[in-house]
């Protein structure tokens, strides 16, 4: 069963704390993504990773960084979290074929107080 997992599912942090969101996939997909979802805004792309150590900024990378040291694992890091980073974060993966389909994880709901 193809699957994208995210940990943790819920997280509460204080402003200025560091945040680590983890994503895993068991499909050996080359490409992985991090999005955030806010009410009325749809999904906004934060970063894309094309493979291990091959990452590119998306549309809203400011305040975030990523790490991909294994193909099946992609991390999103918030150094010194801000209240406006309160959101639901989704990870996705896709094979680097012509399908362009993306497979999504269940999301992490982050609250920054």
């Amino acid at each position: 069963d193809m699957k994208v997992t995210q940990m943790p599912r819920y997280l509460i942090k204080r402003m200025g704390e560091n945040v680590l969101l983890e994503c895993g996939q068991d499909m050996s997909h080359e490409t992985m993504y991090w999005y955030r979802q806010d009410p009325g805004l749809g999904l906004q792309l934060i970063y894309i990773s094309y493979d291990v150590d091959s990452n590119s900024e998306g549309d809203i990378p400011k305040g975030y960084r990523v790490s991909r040291k294994k193909r099946e694992h992609f991390s999103l890091i918030l150094d010194s979290a801000k209240t406006n980073q309160t959101s639901v974060y989704f990870c996705a993966s896709s094979p680097r074929t012509v399908s362009y389909e993306q497979y999504f994880g269940p999301g992490t709901r982050l609250t920054v107080l």
Binding site: T31, F90, Y100, Q102, F104
Partner: protein, 115 residues
């Protein structure tokens, strides 16, 4: 750059009624188009996808969508809705040949049923 517009933030119908959710895209060529569904507290799931070919594509659970190049649209339809269809629906576009697999999403349409 490509963009996607879902003009209806919310659509409400009665159970058993038909459904149409609208999607307009902005791109001079023919893109790849997708509809995703998001059930409460879950991630997005692919409903159906369009690659150049037959303009009407069938998806899961009785959904279908029709591509119109002249109207730059990719509307989603279902003949008879059920309570299990209560969800948020996202239209997305991807540009072939760019090698990036990027999707641009609309802001979503929240679909609900009249109790």
């Amino acid at each position: 750059a490509q963009s996607v517009t879902q003009p209806d933030a919310r659509v409400t119908v009665s159970e058993g009624a038909s459904l149409q959710l609208r999607c307009k895209y902005s791109y001079f060529g023919t893109p790849y188009l997708f509809w995703y569904v998001q059930y409460p507290r879950q991630g997005l799931q692919l409903l159906l996808k369009y690659y150049p070919g037959d303009p009407v594509v069938q998806g899961v659970n009785g959904f279908e969508a029709e591509f119109s190049k002249s109207n730059s649209s990719f509307h989603l339809r279902k003949a008879s809705v059920h309570w299990s269809d209560w969800a948020v629906y996202f239209c997305a576009v991807s540009i072939p040949g760019t090698g990036s697999n990027r999707l641009t999403f609309g802001k979503g349409t929240k679909f609900s049923l009249i109790p």
